[in-house]
């Protein structure tokens, strides 16, 4: 069994997801190959030295992929798959993983499964567990090999394996056909001084908030708790709160002492940003909401009744 893991990195550091996928691949006894795409050979070598526990590492070093370029990286990944013939290709469920995995599957005529949380060996290939319907259901699939997967962040606890990092072998696929160019890298705007990543107490509201007219209710509870107010992605997309207050996959990852949340379903992309909070209390009127599988305490009480009641309780209790 051979696994090819697409290794993501940022600012010269390999992402945790690569090691999570490594542990998952090792758990099915796979020989693990890593693929790095980066702008030059020096960067490839420096990233390669971080890949302890991998059995082999190859790299594409080309200015076209100096920053992630969806089309050029897909060409590179496909070339690596052709030379290494892995049984299973693993990408993380990240932007790059979404771009690459399904495209690779179609182009290499392999079956593809997304949102994988676990893999086990079975007679014909692999048995895969994945999350669907916003985390409300799991799916179990007999996955014939060779195949492509995207693996959920957190599928395994990242920890590096001992041993030396393997030498990096350079691949030189022809990337000249790419019709896609990276023009500008945008870093988050931190000028407002909000830093959810450092907050001890967070109160997060979800789509159920319904609009800015209800925002004062949420602000009052956040103030009573001395907590930072945060939002799920739909709250930010609707413009009810600024982007800097978004928790989750495409927002900030947080680890506060208290994460109180109301009207947030607990989709995997939200959980990714907050599931290691020390205490999670969820308010959600749907008893089947996935958040109740992660929260420590939960209530199916209507948030529009509970938020003012809790604010009042805290204000009278604190005074």
């Amino acid at each position: 069994m051979r696994a090819l893991i697409f290794v993501e990195h940022s600012n010269g550091v390999v992402s945790e997801n690569a090691f999570e996928m490594l542990l998952l691949a090792k758990s099915i006894g796979a020989e693990c190959h890593g693929l790095i795409c980066t702008g030059d050979a020096g960067a490839a070598q420096a990233l390669g030295t971080q890949l302890t526990g991998f059995d082999a590492v190859s790299a594409v070093a080309d200015p076209t992929v100096g920053h992630y370029n969806p089309e050029a990286v897909l060409i590179a990944l496909k070339a690596a798959v052709e030379t290494q013939a892995p049984d299973v290709v693993m990408t993380s469920y990240s932007t790059a993983g979404v771009d690459l995995a399904a495209g690779l599957a179609v182009r290499s005529e392999r079956p593809m499964l997304g949102y994988v949380t676990d893999l086990e060996l079975n007679s014909g290939g692999l048995s895969a567990t994945s999350q669907v319907y916003g985390g409300k259901l799991t799916a179990k699939t007999d996955l014939p090999l060779p195949a492509v997967t995207t693996v959920m962040p957190g599928a395994r606890k990242a920890g590096s394996l001992s041993g030396a990092a393997p030498a990096v072998t350079m691949l030189k696929p022809d990337l000249s056909g790419a019709r896609t160019r990276v023009r500008e890298i945008i870093t988050p705007d931190n000028s407002s001084g909000v830093n959810l990543g450092n907050a001890d107490m967070i109160f997060c509201v979800g789509r159920a908030l319904g609009g800015t007219e209800k925002l004062p209710l949420a602000e009052a509870l956040a103030a009573a708790l001395k907590a930072e107010l945060a939002g799920s992605r739909p709250v930010i997309d609707a413009g009810w709160l600024p982007k800097i207050r978004q928790v989750g996959k495409s927002g900030t990852k947080v680890k506060p002492k208290l994460y109180l949340m109301a009207g947030v379903s607990g989709a995997p992309e939200h959980l990714e940003g907050m599931e290691s909070s020390e205490l999670i209390i969820a308010i959600n009127s749907d008893e089947q909401a996935p958040i109740f599988r992660k929260a420590h305490y939960g209530t199916a009480c209507d948030m529009f009744q509970l938020i003012p009641a809790l604010t009042e309780r805290l204000n009278s209790g604190n005074s």
Binding site: H67, P70, E71, T95, V98, D99, A102, L104, A105, V106, M112, L113, G114, V132, Y133, K136, L137, T138, T141, D142, L143, V148, T150, R179, T180, V182, I185, I186, P188, M201, L225, P234, D237, K243, K249, S250, G251, T252, L258, L260, S265, L279, D286, I291, R293, K294, A295, G298, T299, A300, C301, D302, Q305, L306, P308, A309, L310, R313, L314, G317
Partner: protein, 256 residues
């Protein structure tokens, strides 16, 4: 400039989900269906591009049920044309997956001949790693997912692609291209019920695709309701008593 926007219906996830016997599908009998929220963003972005650049927009759907209503909503929202791909299946079979439907959508796209295809990045029932990259691979067009801003300049498209931690990049692509949209430049617009009623009798053009459904893993997949034991300790009662209990928990932990 011609834009095709692909729209899909999704189960309303706040409804209680139950499974059919054998777990091959969700029980669709009592559950509501809505325009996939991310396709809703894709629809809005397409109409915004139409308004800014005079582009023509065609909305395409391949739903066995509810497709006509879905496409009439798209007309009410400002698209110019719609196309429903007939998608007849046996009554008992689960609706075909994104993977299965891709060849039919590709055939429709080849007929419509757009310069740009936009669809939502995610559909929560999709086990096969999403539609946009599959379409792009079949069409051999460039593709970007997790897009939150789209600008057009002649035949060059610039999108903002989002990554973890609030990072993003502006990516330029030659058209034709496919994008998996996350967020439109402004929230989906409201359509008055009267506008929808006016369109009630509008004929929705259908196309009979000659392509076959692609093979997928649906036969090899069973769905399960996850084990909820070990989850949250649920606090029961009215708002006042729940508030009192939460306050108590916070005090026990020295958080207030």
């Amino acid at each position: 400039m011609h834009i095709a926007v692909i729209l899909r219906l999704n189960p309303v996830l706040t409804d209680e989900l139950e499974l059919t016997e054998g777990g091959k599908d969700i029980d669709r009998e009592w559950i509501g269906f809505e325009l996939n929220p991310m396709d809703d963003q894709a629809l809005e972005q397409s109409v915004l591009l139409k308004e800014a650049h005079g582009a023509k927009v065609t909305a395409i759907a391949a739903e066995a049920e509810g497709g006509e209503r879905l496409l009439r909503t798209a007309l009410a929202r400002g698209v110019d044309d719609v196309l429903l791909i007939s998608n007849k299946k046996d009554d008992d079979a689960p609706p075909p997956s994104s993977r299965a439907r891709t060849p039919l959508l590709v055939e429709a796209i080849k007929q419509v001949k757009p310069d740009l295809v936009i669809t939502g990045i995610l559909s929560t029932d999709d086990l096969y790693g999403e539609l946009a990259p599959q379409l792009a691979a079949c069409l051999n067009w460039p593709q970007a997912s997790a897009v939150s801003d789209v600008r057009l300049d002649g035949m060059v498209l610039t999108v903002r692609q989002e990554y973890a931690g609030g990072m993003a990049a502006l990516i330029e692509m030659d058209l034709p291209a496919v994008i998996g949209l996350q967020t439109a430049a402004s929230p989906p617009r409201y359509v008055a019920g009267s506008k929808l009623r006016d369109l009630l009798n509008t004929k929705v053009p259908e196309m009979e695709a000659s392509a076959e459904f692609a093979e997928d893993l649906s036969e090899a997949t069973t769905l399960n309701l996850p084990d909820t034991s070990g989850g949250a300790e649920m606090i029961e009662g009215d708002a006042k008593s729940v508030a009192a209990r939460i306050h108590e928990i916070l005090m026990e932990r020295g958080l207030v």
